[in-house]
């Protein structure tokens, strides 16, 4: 038996179509059936197994990746829809081998136990902080019409509720996000809005 170190691709057959995905700045050429989800493309065809499958139904957030900087559930997609987009997975969060502030804060605050939901939590939190900075309100924002809201515990909890953690590391996750947020930016910019 031979444990392979390199990602594998699938041989083309009559049902597959050629596809090129840009992941963590690298181009991957695949031949896959259109029914393959982005999540399965990552895990089973490309060998990037950092992104996890917890429910395959958009109900747990373990599969969260960033597409052009926005967080999505990669399980609920067809991979073919993501050509031409820039996909970032947990493997792409560190820069030049240095952990991101969030990754470091997750370790410091023990924002995980088993680690299975962690890649999804990290991708989700990375994009969530950007959403917040761009003025995206949430269900608990006191006034959605307002342009000012506080990066409070309540806001973080609501905004991170799409990522289940069955080990129950939520307290550490919130602390880690608070720390990463405050280290990065002391003031919150509210100029940019989603349109």
């Amino acid at each position: 038996m031979n444990i392979k170190q390199n990602p594998s691709g699938l041989q083309a057959n009559g049902f597959t179509l050629p596809l090129s995905l840009s992941i963590n700045g690298k181009q991957y050429d695949l031949n896959i059936e259109p029914r393959v989800s982005l999540l399965d493309a990552l895990r089973e065809y490309i060998g990037l197994t950092g992104t996890k499958k917890g429910c395959n139904q958009g109900a747990c957030g373990a599969c969260t990746v960033l597409v052009d900087g926005e967080r999505i559930n990669s399980c609920m997609t067809l991979a073919v829809q993501y050509q031409g987009k820039e996909i970032t997975t947990v493997e792409g969060l560190a820069e030049d081998g240095n952990l991101s502030a969030l990754q470091q804060a997750f370790i410091e605050h023990d924002g995980f136990q088993c680690g299975y939901c962690t890649p999804g939590q990290l991708c989700s939190a990375t994009a969530m902080i950007e959403e917040f900075k761009n003025g995206m309100p949430s269900a608990v924002s006191p006034d959605v019409a307002s342009e000012e809201f506080e990066f409070s515990e309540k806001e973080i909890k609501e905004r991170m509720s799409g990522n289940l953690c069955r080990c129950g590391a939520y307290v550490g996750i919130v602390e880690a996000i608070q720390e990463a947020f405050s280290n990065k930016e002391t003031t919150v910019a509210h100029e940019t809005f989603y349109l």
Binding site: F15, L17, E33, P34, R35, S37, N56, Q57, G58, G61, T64, E70, R71, I72, N73, C75, M76, T77, L78, V80, Q81, S124, A127, M128, E131, N134, G135, M136, P137, S138, A139, S141, D143, V144, A145, K157, E158, R159, M160, S161, G162, N163, F193, Y194, L195
Partner: protein, 325 residues
């Protein structure tokens, strides 16, 4: 998931043409519901037409003050849109109360309207479900029906429509613009989804090959004073047991304008016309709110596990109206 042909449409006409064939086809936007249903074998299209490249991604203010929302505007973008937040905060709130940050980034306006029920028996291929398999019966009526409908049910189906966004849009009196091979038509939001009747498998008035291109919300100033309240089993990331979208305008202690819609109670977003009619020009009192709620829920019918929704809907409605005063 069965194999299918994937087509990417670059224009509305091309999408409609691709869908106007004999074989079963589905438009795919964010995929947040369709991919799941395909994986569960509930939807088995031969062709999946990707519409995400269509130029229907704008929110624009029309000359008459209406707001036109392209059907491919993502839920999160719609909720964060400045015009929507100022004019129709209830719509932002409703969207933000639905699903999760990730799903809202994927889900489109049109897809949200087209999403299907969360009924457990609809989802389980081995169960009897008239919606999934017409004529097979309904296992929910005598089964786990805690999340099911209390208004407008039939002997064939007691499922609910799960959307939050649609409740706000129904309340706002929105119109859905659809385009098909015979051109464009406009459908009142409240007429778009159907009650189950004898054909719970037919959920909307949309014809095969028709594509939702936009939603138009008519201008109205009083809906600035609006609110969405969702009652669910978790603090976040759960479908509504009951939700209420309402807008209220009070003048000299009496109700000048009122709009109410309920979610989680029926096969469609439920516009509370009866309660609205009752309240028009009435004095603003808690008692009147309660009487209006009674009026709306008069014909409500509970099942073994969901009768609580009748009282819950009334109480939530009253609470939301009080908050809007």
């Amino acid at each position: 998931m069965k194999l299918f042909t994937y087509k990417q449409a670059d224009g509305v006409d091309e999408a409609i043409k691709a869908a106007s064939t004999k074989t079963i086809s589905k438009f795919i936007g964010g995929g947040t519901n369709l991919v799941d249903l395909m994986r569960e074998n509930i939807e088995q299209p031969d062709t999946v037409i990707d519409v995400t490249h269509l130029p229907l991604t704008d929110v624009e203010e029309l000359e008459d003050g209406s707001i036109k929302i392209g059907s491919l505007v993502r839920n999160s973008h719609l909720a964060a849109n400045k015009i929507i937040r100022e004019k129709f905060p209830v719509l932002s709130q409703a969207i933000l109360n639905g699903a999760s940050g990730q799903l809202r980034n994927m889900a489109t306006t049109g897809g949200n309207i087209m999403q299907r029920t969360r009924c457990y028996y609809f989802y389980d291929e081995t169960a009897c479900c008239n919606k999934r398999n017409p004529g097979s019966g309904c296992d929910a009526i005598d089964g786990y029906n805690r999340i099911h409908a209390i208004l407008g049910t039939s002997f064939t189906c007691i499922a609910t429509h799960p959307s939050d966004m649609c409740v706000a849009m129904a309340m706002l009196g929105a119109k859905i613009i659809v385009e098909g091979k015979n051109g464009e038509r406009e459908i009142a939001f409240t007429d778009f989804h159907k009650l189950p009747g004898d054909t719970p498998n037919i959920e909307t008035v949309l014809q095969q090959g028709e594509l939702i291109t936009s939603v138009v919300i008519p201008p109205q100033d009083f809906t600035k004073n609006s609110l969405y309240r969702k009652v669910r089993d978790r603090a976040s990331y759960a479908f509504a047991l009951v939700s209420v979208a309402a807008a209220l305008e009070v003048e000299n202690g009496s109700i000048k304008n009122v709009r109410i819609a309920l979610g989680g109670v029926a096969h469609k977003p439920w516009r509370a016309f009866k309660a609205e009619n009752y309240l028009m020009n009435k004095e603003v009192t808690e008692e009147n709110f309660m009487l209006a709620a009674e009026e709306e829920l008069k014909d409500a019918k509970g099942f073994e596990h969901n009768s609580f929704k009748i009282g819950l809907a009334k109480r939530t409605m009253v609470s939301v109206l009080k908050e809007l005063v």
